[in-house]
């Protein structure tokens, strides 16, 4: 599985720029990004000019571009870490790979740099197996297969909607955990990809993620903003909420979500203790979200992704709206997102 086997024309690499200087980031990824089309979206609140090294096939979008496409009032939807979603919106490709700008390629246990892009696309192009757990993990990987007792009728799998990668060094822990374990770094390289079973919920991280845009693009909602959301991951939950929606909709439509490889190497940024000082709203919101998603049933009539998002937004407003204004705003944002998606992608 090398990048030569991937049809690079089917992939957009979307980078949300929260830092102005992308030199180190893009230089380190050059071996794996070259040949691909890049979409760099600048956080509309970032004042400095972006610094992008030569030699990449890249389109850059800033606040002005956003406002042209979605209007000034809607560009606030794409501030901070959510800027990348604008890239999802304007992309014309089948697959999106998105990596935070503080991550560089990781090394595998043999010392070789991990081609995260190829691994993500491989995951997306091969079926997922959400309906029955395979104890040898991804059966489509070289050298693996379905084990004894795996029903034959389920062995063709289902389409893979998303590939959730992991992180060495600074793992995606929340602020309290990282603050408590300041020295903890993730050194464990787990050589596996697996499908997260249907009905199981998980916290999807936006730090290192890829998805099938044609299949589930409208479900990648930039919706939940916690009060005092900041410019470090410890102060956000937008990706976790997006992931809960995506997983629920994928389960409903019969798609799969994979997790595991590829790894990226995540660098230090921010201060967990500092983030902890801000009252961490995310915790409360997650506690309310979980029972909601656990008991939620989308109507059988919701057969398209857009319809699923609309139904989900309705349910969020009805059942969670009174708990916290953040949920009402999220529901509104989800509806708006679908409208934008339809308008941008029909005129495209």
């Amino acid at each position: 599985m090398s990048s030569a086997e991937i049809n690079k024309n089917e992939v957009d690499i979307v980078i949300g720029a929260l830092n102005a200087d992308l030199t180190q980031f893009l230089t380190s990824w050059r071996p794996f990004f070259s040949g691909f089309h890049l979409i760099v979206v600048k956080d509309p609140e970032l004042k400095e000019e972006l610094n992008i090294p030569e030699g990449f096939d890249v389109d850059v979008y800033s606040k002005t571009d956003m406002e042209k496409v979605v209007g000034a009032s809607n560009s606030t939807m794409f501030s901070g870490y959510s800027c990348r979603y604008f890239g999802y919106l304007v992309s014309k490709k089948k697959y999106i790979v998105s990596i935070d700008d503080d991550c560089v390629p990781a090394k595998d246990p043999k010392g070789f740099l991990v081609d995260a892009v190829s691994q993500h696309v491989f995951n997306l192009e091969n079926p997922a197996t959400p309906l029955f757990f395979n104890t040898l993990y991804d059966p489509y990987c070289e050298g693996a297969d379905f084990v004894r007792g795996y029903p034959f009728s389920l062995r063709s799998g289902v389409p893979c909607a998303a590939s959730c990668g992991l992180w060495l060094n600074l793992a995606d822990l929340d602020a309290p955990t990282q603050a408590l374990k300041t020295e903890q770094r993730n050194t464990s390289y787990v050589d596996a990809v697996m499908t997260v079973p249907a009905k199981a919920m998980l916290p999807i991280s936006g730090i290192n993620i890829a998805f099938n845009r044609e299949l589930v693009g409208p479900a990648m909602v930039p919706a939940l903003r916690i009060a005092g959301e900041g410019k470090v991951r410890w102060e956000t939950l937008e990706d976790v909420w997006c992931g809960m929606c995506l997983k629920h909709i994928s389960d409903h439509l019969g798609y799969g979500v994979k997790t595991g490889m590829p790894y990226v190497w995540r660098n230090e940024r921010g201060d967990a203790v500092e983030s902890l000082r801000k009252k961490w709203e995310g915790m409360k919101l997650m506690e309310k979200s979980v029972p909601f998603f656990d008991s939620l049933k989308l109507p059988e009539t919701a057969l398209k992704v857009e319809d699923c998002v609309i139904e989900l937004a309705k349910a969020v407003k009805e059942q969670l709206g009174s708990d916290d204004p953040a949920f009402t705003q999220a529901a509104d944002a989800m509806v708006k997102w679908v409208q934008l998606w339809n308008s941008v992608n029909s005129s495209g």
């Binding site: 004894r148 795996y150 955990t177 079973p197 916290p203 997790t259």
Partner: protein, 374 residues
């Protein structure tokens, strides 16, 4: 390999609370390799096949041995629920054990090495798995958060971080993977390895993770390298009717796994899978396997939707009650697939009756085994 086993003996844990159950029909030479890890534990050997054959057990192990005559004597007519000429008979060992935990292993499984070349103490890892909580209600993307160096990721609800009690620890295998007969026939040379590391002289597909199988998800439970909390889930670990006189084989552990998972989900307990690895040395004959599995391949297509849709009533608050309810539903829903399922449902009920009998206060007296260590 010039050195067969590690010369460093690990610290035993729970040695008075755990029994190792081994089914065998030939010999127990494999125990020699496991000596540093097993010799402090009590073994329960379940001898399948001809009871007049003497099974040689290496010196120095503390064991009790049961052959078919013992099983018949101890259970009387209820012995009908214990398979003959199939490793499914091992579940008799679970029934007669008095310990809190069971580790069961096949007699063609050996000590594996981790990627650094170190011998893997499978039993120790199973104990670690069982003694730490599971996370069946929400998937942690960094796998088992209770392992050293791991934790819950951002977004993992705090209210769920205490986890659930772990009922089962399902280990994996290096070298010969646990494939069904059709897969074995198609891929005769495949070893559980993506690459062959010449420096270690051992194929590797070592996935360094333990994880909880989410609630509501079924899995194929392999009995080759399995540990569980007998006091919790023991009564559900019936390995069914296989082997001699039965239309099916090699589905004993699968059947137990589906029942166990449904009951664990109902009771709020966790099932872990992943580490530890053992080295599985013997590839069984795929043609023989195909004959045994043949019916199972078709029947599992009916059985799995059954298990996926079964709901146990709230009134079932004990494992025995859950299991009896399952037996009833098996008869009701799967009986029409094949009369075998009626027999199996009856076996399930007999198993629970036998379990209750042996595990009540009076039952302890009746079961002196045939063979014991001095």
């Amino acid at each position: 390999m010039t050195q067969l086993y590690s010369s460093v003996k690990p610290t035993p844990m729970l040695k008075d609370e755990l029994d190792i159950v081994i089914p065998t029909i030939r010999n127990l030479d494999f125990l020699e390799m496991w000596r540093p890890f097993f010799e402090q534990y009590h073994l329960i050997i379940v001898q399948d096949g001809d009871p007049s054959k003497a099974i040689k057990i290496p010196e120095g192990f503390d064991y009790e041995l049961y052959n078919r005559d013992d099983i018949n004597r101890i259970l009387g007519p209820k012995a009908s629920c214990i398979s003959f000429k199939d490793s499914a008979c091992r579940c008799f060992g679970y029934m007669v054990s008095k310990k809190k935990y069971i580790y069961t292993i096949d007699d063609d499984c050996f000590v594996a090495k981790d990627p650094s070349g170190k011998d893997i103490n499978a039993l120790e890892q199973h104990i670690k798995n069982l003694l730490s909580p599971s996370t069946p209600h929400f998937f942690n993307t960094l796998y088992d958060p209770y392992r050293d160096g791991a934790d819950f990721v951002r977004g993992y609800p705090f209210s769920m971080r205490e986890g659930a009690i772990t009922a089962v620890s399902h280990g994996l295998w290096l070298n010969i993977p646990d494939y069904d007969a059709p897969t074995q026939l198609v891929k005769p040379l495949e070893r559980n390895s993506r690459k062959f590391d010449l420096s270690l002289r051992q194929p590797i597909l070592y996935v360094d993770a333990v994880m909880t199988i989410p609630k509501g998800t079924l899995f194929p439970m392999c009995g080759m390298n399995l540990a569980f909390d007998r006091e919790l889930i023991g009564p559900a670990m019936y390995f069914g009717l296989m082997g001699d006189g039965q239309p099916i084989g090699r589905y004993d552990d699968m059947w137990a796994g589906w029942c166990v998972k449904v009951i664990c989900d109902h009771m709020g307990w966790g099932v872990k899978t992943g580490l530890p690895y053992i080295w599985h040395s013997k590839a069984s004959n795929p043609f023989v396997n195909l004959k045994k599995e043949y019916n199972g391949i078709f029947w599992q297509e009916e059985a799995i939707p059954f298990f996926q849709s079964v709901t146990l009533p709230e009134e079932c608050t004990s494992v025995q009650q859950c299991y009896l309810e399952l037996a009833k539903l098996v008869k009701e829903k799967l009986g029409k697939v094949d009369p075998y399922f009626n027999k199996l449902a009856t076996g399930m009920v007999t198993w629970i009756e036998a379990w209750e009998e042996l595990n009540s206060a009076e039952g302890t007296e009746a079961k002196a085994p045939n063979g014991k260590s001095e």
